[in-house]
Symmetry: C2
Subunit: 332 residues, 2 copies
């Protein structure tokens, strides 16, 4: 537990130190976000804020995990999977951000250009999990010791889940500090849960212990990043950041076999996706009408007159609460 706290502090410190180096460099490269012209009008003022700031916490979390992880024998296997999952999805986001900057347009890669590599990474992750003797094809039902064995269907289901989580994290990243704050809390909860699971197994399970440290590193690194991302943001995390968060979060969920806990811990990500899907479907079947003023739903709240900072805090408070609920099942 002490090592977990030290991991959080190290990751935080690295983020704080890396930020003042990386962010001015992003600004010099003119990596300013081209604000989506279809977003809320008030967001037009955000044009020019440096994007790709997610590189700050990606760097901090990866380095901290490498330093603090337990690497004896094969014990670092899960940790490598988690770091690589984060980096792989971050890379797709990086390309997307880069295209936006170079081509100066707000859309970036086409949906297909994003989806295909995402699905490929998801396939690799799912197969690795399926073949792993600890993970296998079973999902734990939260708050119980029951498991659901998906058999071979584990792979297609997990591909859907992984791609879903990564894009949901991306959708949640629409207001200053929103995705960062919510996911920081989620990683904090997963750190405690993995630590608790690691100790509950016969002896200390080093894979789960490493997973706890990785979650702690993400939590601390994002906490440090919030220093730069809080309203009014000095930098946005960009797709590189939100994809990295999605990739890291879903990897932690897979390794702990707690994918079914994501609707609780990552509830705000889920409603971002769902509101987007509902909006599109409703619009199609109603002949162009809208159910929300704008999707994802945080923009609906914004256009309903709730201040940006208030929406972010509401989301943070809700996430903190749901994390407490999730913890209920996993701490003595």
């Amino acid at each position: 537990m002490q090592k977990l706290i030290i991991t959080i502090l190290v990751a935080f410190a690295l983020s704080m130190v890396a930020g003042p180096f990386i962010i001015p460099w992003l600004k010099r490269l003119k990596v300013g976000q081209t604000i989506n012209q279809f977003g809320p009008r008030s967001h037009q003022g955000k044009q020019g804020t440096a994007t790709m700031g997610g590189l700050v916490f990606i760097f901090a979390a990866a380095v901290t995990s490498l330093i603090m992880g337990v690497w004896k024998g094969t014990e670092g296997y899960f940790l490598i999977i988690e770091i690589l999952s984060m980096l792989a999805f971050a890379f797709i986001g990086f390309v997307d951000d880069y295209v936006k900057v170079v081509k100066r347009r707000s859309v970036g890669l086409t949906p297909v250009q994003k989806m295909v590599p995402q699905a490929l990474i998801a396939l690799v992750l799912s197969v690795l999990a399926y073949l792993n003797p600890y993970i296998g094809s079973k999902l734990v039902v939260p708050f119980t010791s029951y498991t659901i064995d998906l058999g071979f269907f584990y792979i297609p289901v997990m591909i859907f889940v992984i791609v879903g989580v990564v894009n949901s994290a991306n959708l949640l990243d629409g207001l200053d500090g929103l995705c960062a704050g919510n996911s920081m809390l989620g990683f904090g909860a997963f750190a405690l849960i993995a630590m608790s699971l690691a100790a509950h197994e016969s002896g200390m399970n080093p894979d789960l212990y490493n997973t706890a440290l990785f979650s702690g590193a993400m939590c601390g690194a994002i906490l440090g990043f919030l220093r730069f991302n809080t309203h009014p943001a000095v930098t946005f995390m960009g797709d590189v950041g939100s994809f990295a968060i999605g990739g890291a979060l879903v990897a932690v969920a897979i390794v702990t076999r707690l994918t079914l806990l994501l609707p609780i811990i990552a509830f705000t990500m889920m409603i971002s996706s769902l509101s987007d899907i509902i909006q599109v479907i409703y619009c199609r079947f109603s002949g162009g009408k809208r159910i929300f003023r704008m999707a994802p739903i945080h923009h609906h709240f914004e256009l309903s007159g709730i201040p940006e900072t208030k929406i972010v805090t509401m989301y943070d408070v809700l996430t903190a609460l749901l994390c407490f609920v999730a913890l209920l099942g996993y701490v003595k």
Copy 2:
């Protein structure tokens, strides 16, 4: 630990339920804050926001502690002390707020009218602690097992500490969500520390266990209150709220004998007081010059052009970090 989480959730729920009853009632009573004319000019827009909102979390924390506490035999003794300390200081704040509202002025009670009853309550608390076989006259040096025995000086020193903490909490309450967010984190840290101390003693120490539950109740209740207090605030906590927070926090510190941990956990409160004191002293000796643009120091940051929401997040991040540092010494 599960009971602690449930306590946090219950307190949160009570705050959320009580808020929509108490706040409109405060508004009907026209309990709007009369903004200090010497504060930053931008704060003049806050005139009319309902104050005394602290009643929401005072109610929620007190009721939750009564429900969730362990009351077998004399085991509830510390818990009663903690609740009464909160309520007693809250009462002074209530009178202060009430005078402001009735007399429509921003100053309230005179310093002497506040200090004398504060010192009296502090005297009672100090003597009770001094006479208690568990607490006594010793302070634990943080991160060690050393204790400092103050002997009879414990009483005057603690009076100074108690009055200092209560007024520091009051000074910190200058920006939307600042005092609430920082103290919520502090109570969260003390909940975990007290829980850890309770389990470390031979068997489970019910007094410290109750202290953990009380801290959890404060943490959850204030988290719920943040729903109404976040920028732009629907309600301010008022002196009733900040005095209650100070009274509760210092009671928890005394009972756990961890008064010396307060400069870490309540660092932002301390710098609020110190900056105020430095400002006054410097002003007197320099013949009217100012070292800060305005004291407490969060107003200095504000007048330096840092947005209010950003200062609040910076303070929150710093406090979270210091709480992690404090936890390092008290979790395995």
